[in-house]
Symmetry: C3
Subunit: 266 residues, 3 copies
Amino acid sequence: VIVFASDFGAGSEWVGVCHAVMATIAPQSRILDLTHTLPRFDVSGAGMILREALPYTPVSAAALVVDPGVGTERRAIVLRAARGDVLVGPDNGLLPLAAERIGGTAAAAVIDTARFQLPSTSTTFHARDVFCPVAARISSGTPFEELGTPIDVATLVRARPMLLEVGPGRIVCEATHVDGFGNVRLSARPESFAEAGLDGEEAVWVLTPSGELSAHRAPTFAALDSNRVGLILDSFGWFALCINRGSAADRLGVQRGSRIELRSRA
Amino acid sequence: VIVFASDFGAGSEWVGVCHAVMATIAPQSRILDLTHTLPRFDVSGAGMILREALPYTPVSAAALVVDPGVGTERRAIVLRAARGDVLVGPDNGLLPLAAERIGGTAAAAVIDTARFQLPSTSTTFHARDVFCPVAARISSGTPFEELGTPIDVATLVRARPMLLEVGPGRIVCEATHVDGFGNVRLSARPESFAEAGLDGEEAVWVLTPSGELSAHRAPTFAALDSNRVGLILDSFGWFALCINRGSAADRLGVQRGSRIELRSRA
Amino acid sequence: VIVFASDFGAGSEWVGVCHAVMATIAPQSRILDLTHTLPRFDVSGAGMILREALPYTPVSAAALVVDPGVGTERRAIVLRAARGDVLVGPDNGLLPLAAERIGGTAAAAVIDTARFQLPSTSTTFHARDVFCPVAARISSGTPFEELGTPIDVATLVRARPMLLEVGPGRIVCEATHVDGFGNVRLSARPESFAEAGLDGEEAVWVLTPSGELSAHRAPTFAALDSNRVGLILDSFGWFALCINRGSAADRLGVQRGSRIELRSRA
């Protein structure tokens, strides 16, 4: 299995060309498209989505591509996760974040591009020319040790940490993801609620850059008050602002990266 | 083969995570994505698309997911179609409608979720936690009888029937589907035209919520009058309002569910 | 491998139904979706994208579908490329253009639809009823000679040639493609720059239907001046107007087919 994820957009010919390259190098491989609608140019936002998704994949080679610095001096790297996966992509913070829930980063190396890239390499499409060819070689059996030069894991670029400040009756966090339905995932998990003493409260105040409102907690979308924003613990363990059969992001006027404050109503 | 369809949106990481779960449980399976742009939260609209599409698939296990009631008391079911397929999804009307053209519903059971779901089950993502794992088990050979407790087919929730009233020179129907090109599929087939006595007419009056016009019948898109809405018998046997190289839905201001009346011009 | 590309849209059930048809006829095949967001009804624009993408695929059967004339007298054809691929689609110019970089057209035939289509054929969905079934038969071993009646390659419909006029210090070209990021690919390659004597210039004037500006050349997106339109040689060897982390198409107000003039600033 080769896992493939990018910010190229659904149905893009860029995705198709990468499939073509991998099918040529590794005809027996199975390509698993995790998503191609990662938030564009946003390494932190994309990495957090990948971090939640990778625990569900089989152990695999994975080409993970959000690469605004393509063609510059940024390194092309492979990273071995403790679970056994090998992640391939740019050294911009994406891979260590993506690896967090599959055991974290066990080893890393700079790709020996002279050996493993396509014969002709562009300055703008390294998914096609470097990352996917290397992922295909890994799935065909090339061992991690032969992919390039080992580097100290401490030298890897790290993604911006997400905003999370917890005090008594108060959580300052951010919108880390707006999914296709308009649900707004926050950088807060149950342990932050417990720490802030918000655990027992049925509803919290939500302060966004464009206003504030009271949001009731609910176990399911259908249990939300009709046409009102509520707070759900989502299927990956994060709190999310949601509307039943509607877009909370549109209603609230928030987007990925928006600062969100949750406060006790007591 | 595992057929997979949902309203998650093209390129969504939700689709990718479900693929990952199925590839883990059933590594030898082939996943056939029928569509992931089913109309959101609309069980009838989605079911009618699936009903037309399933006759083209091989006999298969199919995870079919439009599930606004996820996490509530609604049942998780498997349904055996007379053709031999096993459909997996929520008991909200989607599955019996989807099964109509592959022989209809032969048997049904409530899934024994304690046995077949993922170890940890969310309240908001049963495609990942229940339906796709069960579809993967079916494709790996688990027999229908072992999936859960048989239920009377008569107890299954049914989707809203589509609007269709036929009188002399008159058909009252609805827009059941707007495809990506903006073609508007109606809930009328040739037999309704025959019944209404509209069969021989070259054009009919079309009354929509936002206006009326005369629509000529044509055998192909290219045969439509330039830049005018016409009536085509579409590739699944339904009449559709279409514009050559344009969006009839935009032109007419109609959407899925809009009431459409067709009348004789005589 | 069966390569499949269309203008049906990402996630469309039309794509899924074609997959279903191919999986039924050729269960052992691997379907490679090259793209389903080809520019709608635009044979030239779509063909130029396919031409750049096909060199990366393995030698294969390919169903290529942009077919505004579906159901009319336009022929359904197969075309053998010199590399060995067999392309299947409508005779509207798409296939010869798509074959240009995989050796060009070596032979062509009109499909014997009576033998190779689905039992029931619509007038509006030949991807499902003719092209994909034929591609599946090819991938299952049916030789080219048995697919239909040979025709003179000179009789094939040809796509509109793209605009390209080169004079001293001046290139008149067109926008041939706007990708998902908003990068605007031009119908100009390095040889046109050399011919026009623009090769050594760091920046050129760009005249579009809605204005003009100076665009610096840069080797990578990240090397572009912040928030300004620049000129990059893209990963397929074409010049493209780009903005780092933004949409040049939106900024310039240009779309596919827009006339673009490049002039020396000297």
